[in-house]
Amino acid sequence: MTEALLQVEGLRTHFHTFSGTVRAVDGVSFAVGRGEIMGLVGESGGGKSVVGFSLLGLIDPPGRIEGGTIRFDGEDLTAAGEARMRRIRGREIAMVFQDPMTSLNPLHTVGRQMDEVLRLHTDLDAAARRARSVEMLESVGISRAAERLSAYPHQFSGGMRQRVVIAIALLASPRLIVADEPTTALDVTIQSQILKLMRRQIRERGASMILITHDLAVVAEMADHITVLYCGKVVERGPADTVLRRPAHPYTRGLIDSIPNPALRKERLNQIPGMVPDIRNLPVGCNFRDRCPRATALCAEVEPALQDRGSGQWAACHHPLDAAP
């Protein structure tokens, strides 16, 4: 097996605030293979977005990457300087944000915001950059693309704006796209269009994608691999089929049970009881134990480590679901 495109090992990103250190990402490891879509799943506040921003080196104070490595095509990005990172952002790794209403600059035309990427990352002349932008807008399904270049973001609908954002992300042909909840802010009917568009574009270009979402249904539709985060830690990861069909961690099970999707749902729609604990004050032992139906005294004392469950599936649980309780 060739080396993965992205190999994250023991990533720790912490925020040092007045009321204590927030360990938003605490020892996260995962890999994304070439041409693969990896779903990064968890509840809001679980540190998913922070992982995304850490990859791009966009963690602003009071946040800081405290440890771990991010190997992108063999290069450790945690050791890369700002100048190097600027050449990676947009060109090697691009990002799609959650809310298309706010991720475009309201005062610049769409064309200018696209052109900016090409100016930064290619040697094309103005005419070639324009042609490239038009072509890209067309490929994400925006008609009359040449005219639309001189339009401002507010002249587009939400779904159209997200297409523009995706077009911008794809412009410099990056090898990895980090999509942070790319469809959460959109209408349900548009969500699947956008997802399909993203998958097609990724596959056609042979790029890889990290799809950050709280919605397992989205992941089920898109991802090859899944990494489940809880309180800044990986609780389960593995091939999408395996994890969705045979989750080992009770948290993953809970997430699957709360999907309102007949194909995946068991008998009834469940919610995970309780709330995500205060991330500044995490309990000793397993972070999930207060919400877990299988928790025992052991869970309160010892933090479970990720263990190989076979066929590429790993879970961090003392009492995984396929074992005897």
Binding site: R89, G90, N105, P106, L107, E116
Partner: protein, 321 residues
């Protein structure tokens, strides 16, 4: 767009009409100007005669009608003191005031905007805190006192800048200007600096607030994710968004500067509108005060109008509405 412009123009005329009524009423309470024109030993008959010539014996609405009619024809009457048309007096002094106001505006913009951007972009830093404390001191300073201190230090003590007057002027386009001579610049520095401090502080605070607001926006982070440098994002994407509120304040401040020029001109004996106004107030020179007020009102209304137009140019979201 055309409809909007027409609507705004109509509003301008209404406001100016209201201002003319207010100015007229205020003037009617400002003492009796007849004593300004008659000799001290004038007889009752002479006073009554003067009153009639000035139109002061008529009813208020009649006086207002005459006032308005004259004004529309550009006739504001003659100054009681200088015996010259009041409008000419004002227009003659206008360039001097415009000079210090414009220079002060530029000074404050040049200092305030970069500092405000810096403080807004790096809110936690010691330098930013120092900038903000400095701006608060700037707001808390009486501008006339600052002017005096500058005179004391630079004119009396060190003798590097003159303490009063306009210096050499040259005639450009029919009026005399100081800003085109070296000596004029030498004279203009201190008054403009004095005048600029308050505006500088306010502009700085607005710029910082705008910048802080903008740095929180998603499009800033998205631009960085595209590979734009931190500086590039701040100035290429943030600044223009942050400056939208600054444009409004800029317009309002221009008005304030004209008002505060009265004080600055008094301190530095700068022969502009403000000095003329204060002198006219002391001497109850009603026509001059009226022209001043109407002129300032017009300048204000026009500035507000221009700011609105400028807005639509800066912010495409408004253009469509």
């Amino acid at each position: 767009m055309l409809g909007y412009t027409l609507k705004r123009l109509l509003q301008m005329i209404v406001v100016l009409g209201a201002v003319s009524v207010i100015v007229f009423l205020m003037m009617s309470f400002t003492g009796d100007p007849v004593f300004m024109v008659v000799p001290i030993d004038a007889t009752e008959a002479e006073i009554a005669q003067a009153r009639r010539i000035l139109g002061l014996d008529r009813s208020m609405p009649e006086q207002y009608a005459i006032f308005l009619k004259g004004m529309l024809q550009g006739d504001f009457g003659r100054s009681y003191v200088f015996r010259e048309p009041a409008l000419d007096l004002i227009l003659e002094r206008l360039p001097a005031t415009l000079e210090i106001v414009v220079v002060a505006m530029l000074m404050s913009a040049v200092v305030a905007i970069p500092l405000g951007v810096y403080a807004g972009a790096n809110p936690g830093r010691t330098e930013s805190r120092a900038i903000m404390t400095g701006s608060l001191v700037g707001i808390s300073l009486p501008s006339f006192w600052v002017g005096m201190m500058l005179i004391f230090l630079f004119a009396v003590k060190w003798n590097v800048f003159p303490s009063s007057g306009r210096g050499d002027t040259v005639e450009v386009m029919g009026t005399r200007w100081s800003i085109f001579t070296a000596d004029g610049w030498h004279h203009i520095i201190l008054p403009s600096l004095t005048l600029s401090l308050g505006t500088m502080a306010i502009l700085l605070r607005i710029t910082r607030a705008g910048m802080m607001e903008v740095t929180r926006q998603d499009y800033m982070k998205f631009a960085r994710a595209k590979g734009v440098s931190r500086r590039g994002v701040l100035y290429g994407h943030g600044l223009r968004n942050a400056l939208i509120p600054v444009v409004t304040i800029f317009g309002l401040q221009l008005g304030d500067l004209i008002a505060f020029a009265t004080i600055t001109e008094t301190i530095f004996a700068w022969p502009g509108l403000g000095k003329l106004l204060i002198d006219s107030i002391y001497r109850a020179d009603r026509p001059v005060i009226v022209v001043y007020l109407m002129l300032v009102a017009t300048i204000f209304v026009v500035i507000n109008f221009l700011v609105d137009i400028l807005y639509t140019w800066i912010d495409p979201r408004i253009r469509v509405k």
